[in-house]
Amino acid sequence: MSKKRIVLHFPKELVDKSIVYKLVKDFNLEFNILKAEVNPKEEGLLVLEIKGDEDDFNKGIEYLNKTGVRIQPLSQDVSMDRAKCVDCTACIPLCPTKALVKNPETLEVEFVKEKCIACGICVHVCPYKAMSIVF
């Protein structure tokens, strides 16, 4: 049994299809929805924590890939370069999961990796290129 986090982007035409449900039915996977959102362009975003066998997980991902859902990298792939961060706080209100927080004592902006869903917003927001994401 392993636990993994993935971010799924649903194009408009797939938003109302019951794709994720199949993960349970056909691939024996359990999931927790960490975040679900439909943006103004009617595309869907779903952040899942998936539990199950490695084999089942891989098959599930393969299935998702075929449906046309875009699968984003896991949060482990986002990192903060402390040497480049100037602790301005510009990224904080833009992060959807509060994964970037200011320490009120030191004024340092900290990256809380466990909360990050790898949305990539901070990569664009940061004027100093301190945040990066590896695909």
């Binding site: 103004p40 602790d87 301005c88 004027p127 290129k129």
Partner: protein
């Protein structure tokens, strides 16, 4: 009452009493106002943030055969320079972009590398390619030059800010239903965030609201080097509405700064990319304020809650004279990470770094305490609140085509 001369003598003896603009508040409250005004010599202020009106002017020396850059076309690191002076002199602005940068054609543009980044690369000692095309004259026959340039080979490289240290600034929000990409950062739709850009009670001109000590010729910390205030900055606008304590309620005074780029430190001068907006340069500045009397002490004791800023909707194409002010907030609220507006809680973000500003104020304080930095007497006054000097918007007059 003290004079700058007396303060400098105390600095020389290693006896000067120095606080940062954050520390002084508590000290004055503890010691009592009168006592503190006698005891304290200098208060240090600072700011660190993107300053678009920054640039460098520099001299590359002369090649053999000679080339006249003025009137020609020159790039440094692929970024166009302003070649409109004598043969070997150039100016490079922080917002300059390579010809081939798509800008906002691919919206929002990334602006990964511009003038500000070239300046940073120079200070970091990198070799950059300078390419020049000139028209050639009898005395300067050469027409093309392509060479590596390193900061140590340049004659003078002078950092020059036409405008810096804005005395207070707007808080930017977006009322529309689309995200917008501004010089105040990314603004989420429907009041999704509120961005500000000032060190508040640590910011230089908010600690000397009527420019009683800060003036032309004031010696400062400029990006790790010793620099000077060369003039008031562009868009200087001292006549705006002020609080009872004299603090402008909106953007007001500005400073123009100058210093030797070769002496600066890359920690305080950083190439900056504003998504969807452009490339710029972030600059760290520290300004000492001599506590000459009780009046000056009262100014440097300003607190974040005493400084208010207007919340402005940037969705409608912000203009300073004609903008929607949605409310007024103070810097204690802004720095707490959220403000209240229209009955809602809105998260705040800052473009300027308070942490870096605090570090700079601390460094300047150490320089003064260790006798490495002496104060200078301002040689000229900045136009103040009662001067009648004011910022004008452009009144367009359409030229009649012949």
């Amino acid at each position: 009452m003290k004079t700058i001369k007396e303060i400098n003598e105390r600095i020389k003896k290693g006896e000067a009493v120095v606080f940062t603009a954050e520390e002084i508040v508590e000290f004055a409250e503890k010691k009592g106002f009168k006592k503190a005004a006698q005891l304290v010599d200098v208060v240090t202020t600072a700011t660190f943030g993107p300053m678009c009106s920054s640039g460098i002017y520099f001299n590359i020396g002369q090649s053999k055969p000679r080339i006249k850059l003025g009137g020609g076309k020159v790039t440094l690191g692929g970024v166009p320079c302003y070649a409109a002076f004598a043969a070997g002199d150039l100016f490079l602005g922080a917002n300059a972009l390579p010809e081939e940068d798509p800008r906002n054609a691919i919206y929002p543009g990334e602006f990964k590398y511009g003038g500000g980044h070239v300046i940073q690369d120079l200070i970091e000692g990198k070799d950059l390619i300078l390419e020049a095309n000139a028209y050639g004259t009898d005395c300067y026959p050469r027409r093309h030059l392509r060479t590596y340039i390193n900061i140590k080979d340049l004659n003078e490289v002078i950092l020059f800010n036409m405008r810096n240290c804005y005395q207070n600034y707007n808080v930017a929000v977006n009322v529309s239903d689309k995200p917008i990409y501004t010089y105040m950062g990314i603004l989420k739709p429907n009041l999704g965030n509120a961005n500000y850009c000032s060190a508040g009670s640590l910011s230089p001109l908010l600690n000397d609201p009527y420019y009683k000590t800060i003036g032309i010729g004031t010696k400062i910390f400029l990006a790790g080097a010793v620099g000077f205030i060369s003039w008031w900055g562009t868009q200087h606008n001292p006549g705006v509405e002020r609080t009872e304590k004299g603090i402008p309620k909106c953007p007001a005074g500005t400073l123009s700064l100058i210093g030797d780029l070769k002496e600066t430190d890359p920690s305080w001068l950083i190439g900056t990319s504003m998504y969807g907006y452009g490339a710029t340069l972030s600059v760290g500045v520290g300004i000492p304020i001599p506590v000459l009397n009780e009046e000056i002490l009262s100014y440097v004791c300003v607190k974040d809650e005493d400084i208010v800023a207007p919340v402005v909707d940037y969705a409608k194409g912000y203009s300073p004279e004609n903008s929607d002010v949605l409310g007024v907030v103070n810097y204690a609220q802004l720095k707490s990470g959220k403000i209240e507006l229209a009955g809602r809680e809105i998260p705040t973000g800052s473009l300027s770094s308070l942490k870096k500003a605090r570090e700079i104020a601390g460094i300047l304080k150490a320089w003064i305490k260790e006798g490495k930095f002496f104060l200078s007497e301002a040689q000229g006054k900045l136009p103040s609140a009662d001067s009648g000097y004011r910022f004008k918007t452009l009144k367009e007059r359409i030229p009649k085509d012949v």
